[in-house]
Symmetry: C2
Subunit: 398 residues, 2 copies
């Protein structure tokens, strides 16, 4: 039936094995996994269903739709879901009694969670979200290969920018160009966020005053957007001479994202933006050295705050004033808001194999946003760039 | 700061007033609204925060980010959110004690819901999702205007199809063309679904055998997709002579969607597909007559099942065999899966002002999907089309 590439079998086996080790540590009898991205990660298929992973032994994927397609896409056992009210009994018959059940409390809606927990009236519920996200934060060689392919696509965009950029063209037109090229390369057109209500619009191309417009999005650069119904990203504002143009682009390969921001300017850049950009680059360089296994996630953010302060740019860092985002970077993988989170209060250590985007940016209301963003792999020697695009500002003659 | 159009003041006032009538009927002291689309509907802004709507009197929007932008975008009172743990006290001080609290149990994640309900330890929680969705199902004149503008854009796509369609071009290339044109018209690039895990990829262009590939998506036509990480919609399959090409397109105006499917063919269409298309059209004609206020939602679905059976196409209707979707149509507005739901078990009556898409489609594994979809307004005389594109199959000479 299909011609699309599948997730390799050993990937799925290894992921399930690591996840079961976590269930054992938590003394959970099993996990009921329902969210589409977690399902894809643990099974290799995103068909609609409920995965039960016991503490030991083979999991079972109970599929609502499409059973045919799930059977092709995953190596795990597939069963038709049947009547939901019978699922608890079916699971306990197959796997034994469930006294402690792990569910994804960060994404599973309250109504559904109540219904699922009702199927196991004897069970205590625990939240598996953070441990599962922590597992997902550490990438395998296969996962890194996908992100590296994505890096090639977003690099090609940067190389093409001189052809796309011209005065008077709108942010939306530039963004639509970029989106079109990435789509033809197989982008799925959806950038997944795990956080409730967080959405990522396709085009994070934002220039000058429009880029400095604050947004609901948990990120440093907002953007005006095209409708109040999606108030972020590219807007109908035309590109002007001398203002910073931020090109914050992602793409997906086998569901894996990369995140990269480059800056462009038509004519001569506002000198204050030029300086802010250099400060952002110096922060990135410092983080590359600091970002080693064992270092607390928050340490990178706190150091970047110090550097922004020393440069006299505290109030502009990661948004302006009350609209500042309180972080420096985020994990990247199947979702754009993965672990680690580089923010105050996160004392967890970096681990080898984590992939994260670091995005120091400075906002100047009414004028623009200057900054940079690379995606990195945590290695024992520090952060190794997965982003391959040159860092230099793309300068277009006026 | 902004130049984007705002939702008119009387819209927001009317929506809040209608919603408060519902709260009174349910004897709820207030509703805690958190989901971004519900927030946009009730406030006019999609900034990140929590809206408290009391049974009577002025609501208050407690905003996390961006307060500046929320103050501009909504006419309702805005307060900075501050510390979450204090919000319960702040709300009860302002609005009085909360004994019965309405929340959106269908979308609010379990972890967050538990936290929010913990702020009101004395309160009984009730689910406001269905009543709020029912209110949203009935569109105002302003809302209809947005959907009518969207109808113009998707009609233009159909008119341009002869220029886009050629043998050997891939589904993905055709889809990328269409997406690019719609994006330039201001499409936000996000098609919102309320259902857990439901996503709508941009390009629902699907042809021949690839269109007949089943998917997890709760819709009749699936599509292979470009990656297993988003297993639906346009695929790398090239367009071939004689097979049905389904062009299921949506776009957004001020967040409002329209949903429309047209069919195209290069050369002569497979006669069985031609016939299935005619049956789909006859179902649509019947529904236009039947769809009057007071008629049960399920009645339309059940009648369409009868018509499919009479045509000998039961097993092909809305997907094939075990992968059939069990519905005929759905409400359309700020989300693609709004009320009403035309499916068995839904005995609620159609109401004047509801907007819905009706999409009879027939799936033939290995060969293709044939069908049509229009968006309609429920009037006392039956369904009035909001879709303006001609229904004829777009025929491209070989």
């Amino acid at each position: 039936m299909h011609t699309l590439p599948r997730v390799p079998e050993n990937e799925i086996r290894n992921r399930i094995a690591r996840f079961q080790t976590t269930l054992q540590e938590l003394e959970a009898d099993g996990a009921l996994i329902t969210q589409n991205v977690d399902l894809y990660y643990l099974t290799g298929t995103m068909q609609n269903g409920i995965l039960f992973v016991p503490q030991t032994g083979e999991p079972c994927f109970y599929v609502k739709k499409s059973v045919t397609r799930a059977e092709y896409e995953t190596i795990l056992p597939v069963q038709p879901l049947g009547r939901m009210r019978e699922l608890g009994g079916i699971i306990e018959t197959r796997f034994g009694s469930v006294k402690k059940l792990a569910i994804e409390m960060d994404v599973l809606p309250y109504g559904l969670a109540t219904r699922y927990l009702g199927m196991f009236p004897q069970a205590e519920a625990i939240d598996i979200s953070f441990p599962l996200r922590l597992q997902r934060a550490i990438k395998s060689e296969y996962e890194l290969q996908q992100i590296k392919k994505a890096a090639v696509y977003v690099n090609e965009i940067v190389a093409s920018l001189p052809g796309y950029l011209q005065k008077g063209k709108t942010e939306l037109e530039l963004s639509a160009n970029i989106e079109h090229v990435l789509r033809l390369k197989g982008n799925i057109g959806i950038y997944r966020m795990r956080g409730y209500n967080q959405e990522l619009c396709l085009g994070m191309v934002a220039s000058g005053s429009a880029a400095a417009t604050p947004t609901y999005f948990d990120g440093p650069a907002g953007g005006l957007g095209v409708q109040l119904a999606s108030p972020q990203g590219a807007s109908p504002k035309p590109l002007k001479t001398g203002e910073p143009i931020l090109i914050d682009i992602a793409t997906t390969v086998e569901g894996y994202l990369i995140d990269q921001t480059r800056m462009a300017v038509i004519g001569d850049l506002d000198p204050e933006m030029e300086r802010a950009y250099e400060v952002a680059v110096s922060i990135i360089r410092e983080m590359e050295q600091m970002g080693k296994p064992g270092v607390e996630w928050q340490a990178l953010y706190l150091r970047s705050l110090e550097m922004a302060e020393k440069a006299g740019l505290s109030n502009h860092f990661m948004g302006y004033g009350p609209d500042q985002a309180k972080f420096l970077g985020h994990g990247v993988g199947l979702e754009m808001d993965e672990l680690p989170i580089l923010a105050k209060g996160f004392r967890q250590p970096l681990q080898e194999g984590m992939v994260l985007a670091i995005e120091p940016k400075f906002t100047f209301p009414g004028r623009g946003v200057a900054g940079i963003e690379n995606t990195y792999l945590v290695t024992k020697d520090g952060l190794q760039p997965l982003t391959i695009a040159p860092e230099e500002i793309v300068r277009i003659p006026e």
